[in-house]
């Protein structure tokens, strides 16, 4: 059995994920409220609203409070000279190996939420797949990008 990768991502990732989740949940709650208003005016049965509210509460609790923590704990990565090793997933864990010589290019990305916490994500593309390491500290992300790109510059194998 291989050891899981060593490095964790930035702890602020949890905050960023929470905010993202919160935005989605707010949209969801607005929809529920609209639904409730419609129900009130047209005197539809209240059962459906009740169910929607329960779903809303559970999903908000899970996606804002529970999942970011679990997801953060599971997210690991490690960069070796020959390959990249990534682990992620909450219920379904996956571990991915990407050989350096297969890497075509590396990007760093930063949306407004990640920027607020000085975070950035790194995307690694091979000719057939893409892999993302989300939410690293900005300087780590760019350092990682440069390192992978340097390591990937080994002599071209065919294709």
């Amino acid at each position: 059995m291989r050891k899981p990768p060593k490095n964790t991502i930035a702890a602020d990732a949890m905050k960023a994920w929470r905010i993202t989740a919160l935005i989605y949940e707010v949209i969801f709650w607005i929809a529920i409220i609209l639904f409730a208003i419609v129900t009130y005016y047209f005197e539809l049965p209240y059962w459906y609203v009740l169910i929607a509210v329960i779903i809303g509460i559970i999903s908000t609790y899970l996606s804002v409070f529970v999942l970011p923590k679990v997801r953060f704990r599971r997210w690991r990565y490690e960069i070796f000279e020959q390959e990249i090793y990534i682990q992620h997933g909450i219920l379904i864990t996956s571990r991915t190996l990407v050989p350096m010589i297969r890497v075509q290019h590396v990007d760093t990305k930063q949306g407004p939420i990640l920027k607020k916490y000085q975070l950035a994500s790194v995307t690694i593309s091979t000719a057939a797949t893409t892999h993302e390491i989300p939410a690293l500290l900005e300087e780590n992300a760019s350092e990682l990008r440069d390192r992978i790109s340097a390591l990937a510059r080994v002599d071209e194998d065919d294709v």
């Binding site: 059995m1 070796f80 020959q82 864990t93 190996l97 797949t129 892999h131 294709v159």
Partner: protein
């Protein structure tokens, strides 16, 4: 050759037809709208458009020239805005000759030249040139890459396989997945018929029943036979005269009765070799051989992968590969299969849909529960087959995967062709020491081809990941 050349004048016709085809809806629509009043104007406008189309076809033919100069293929085109496209010889990946029916009448060919660049459509497509000219172009552009001139003259014996008529017939008659679908549909329709309000269908049903059951059965059989014959004809047309030849570092495939296609596959662009045994062919011991080739363009083949040979006996595969693709020659050895505890996942996955369907049908329409139950049994069996056929084999740098969706497939690939390796487990997997494996290689159009082996023993996956890993553990 440095003189500028034009395409064969028939290309004008091709351009013209293509232009009309694009406007066909407009023409029909216009006719429907203006047929009452203004028909005369309509005809005038159409005539003007046709003349304009013809003139522009002629002009664009006249302005389209190509030549080979300084190791480059140079193409100049465009009526008002001149465009030039130069492609250097050693960037050319493949040159395919295709002959449609019209081409064959005039002994012409279409030449498609592709570079590694992605995107749809060939980089250069010469609509119509004389066939000899096409072959000359092919040779000229090929030469100076790595093909030695001297060897060209000596003509070493090339390994070559051609499909026999008998085989082609077998291929056609077993291609009938369509027939099966129709048979199932036919069964379904008789069931649905019962659901439709009786009054609505009373007369029709009475009429059909009046025809007697034998007639209906006869009709159904007739339809099946016709579909089957179409399958045979389709295969014949597509794969007639199928010939595969190895020539230095490339493989040439010629196929097609009506539309003749010639494909070139550089050996080093082959990512994996696959052997497919479809449900109908497996009992007869026949397989289809195909290759996953990197790059290539949409619409080059109608299939996701390139067929290397449409049909052959399973026992012939080894010698075929040994001669054409010695790197991929394999001997059958022990496959590492799935552990017993994986079986339930496979049975559940393949049967869950029909299990639910059976329950629903049983509940609402108990008189028709036979059909879903039969399907359920068939799919449970399919699940068992999927479980039994899944497996892998590692031999040095080669990885062999075997799995089944409907057809059983064996993929042969090299370590250095695999782009990434992934192991996934969900909670129940973890408790039972199982895991899924996901391997990606390069496929057509740069999207990648992905292979999954589900519910492997976790220890086996770890062994495989050690095999794949470039780092010493």
């Amino acid at each position: 050759m440095s003189k500028e050349q034009r395409l064969h004048p028939v290309a004008i016709l091709f351009n013209f037809i293509k232009g009309i085809r694009q406007m066909i809806f407009l023409i029909i629509f216009g006719f429907v709208t203006f047929r009452e009043d203004g028909l005369l104007y309509y005809i005038l406008v159409i005539a003007a458009i046709l003349i304009l189309g013809l003139v522009s076809s002629i002009l664009s033919w006249y302005r389209y020239t190509y030549r080979i100069k300084n190791e480059e293929l140079r193409i100049e085109y465009g009526i008002f805005i001149r465009k030039k496209r130069f492609i250097s010889k050693n960037r050319i990946q493949s040159i395919d000759l295709t002959q449609g029916v019209l081409h064959r009448i005039f002994k012409l060919t279409k030449v498609q030249i592709e570079t590694a660049g992605s995107g749809n459509g060939a980089e250069v497509s010469l609509q119509a040139v004389k066939f000899a000219e096409g072959e000359r172009l092919q040779n000229e552009l090929k030469r100076g890459k790595n093909v030695d001139l001297e060897q060209e003259v000596i003509k070493p014996e090339f390994a070559s396989y051609t499909i026999s008529f008998k085989r082609l017939f077998v291929a056609g008659s077993t291609s009938g997945s369509l027939g099966i679908i129709i048979a199932i549909l036919g069964g379904g329709i008789t069931e649905i018929e019962q659901l439709i309000p009786e009054r609505f269908f009373e007369t029709t049903v009475a009429w059909v029943i009046g025809l007697s059951i034998f007639f209906i059965v006869g009709l159904a059989i007739l339809v099946l036979i016709i579909v089957w014959l179409f399958g045979i004809a389709g295969t014949m047309i597509k794969y007639g005269n199928f010939t595969i030849t190895k020539h230095h570092e490339e493989i040439f495939i010629t196929r097609g009765l009506l539309e003749k296609k010639q494909l070139t596959i550089p050996l080093k662009r082959i990512q994996a070799i696959g052997i497919e045994e479809s449900i109908l062919r497996q009992p007869l011991g026949y397989v289809t051989l195909f290759a996953e080739v990197a790059g290539g363009t949409i619409g080059k083949g109608d299939d996701a992968a390139t067929v290397l040979f449409p049909i052959m006996k399973k026992t012939e595969v080894a010698s075929f590969l040994a001669e054409l693709l010695p790197n991929y020659a394999i001997q059958e050895e022990e496959w590492t299969g799935l552990p017993k505890r994986a079986l339930k996942y496979y049975l559940l996955r393949s049967s869950i849909f029909f299990l639910l369907a059976s329950i629903v049908v049983f509940y609402f329409l108990p008189q028709f529960s036979l059909l879903p139950v039969l399907l359920l049994l068939a799919f449970i069996y399919l699940g068992y087959l999927r479980y039994k056929d899944a497996g892998y084999q590692v031999k040095g740098e080669l990885l062999l995967l075997r799995y089944r969706l409907f057809s059983k497939r064996t993929m042969i690939m090299y370590h250095n062709r695999i782009q990434s390796f992934e192991k996934t487990q969900h909670i129940i997997h973890r408790k039972q020491d199982l895991g899924n494996m996901h391997i990606s290689i390069l496929g057509m159009m740069g999207t990648g081809s992905h292979y999954f082996l589900k519910e492997l023993d976790v220890e086996m996956i770890d062994q495989l990941s050690d095999w794949y890993s470039y780092r010493d553990v």
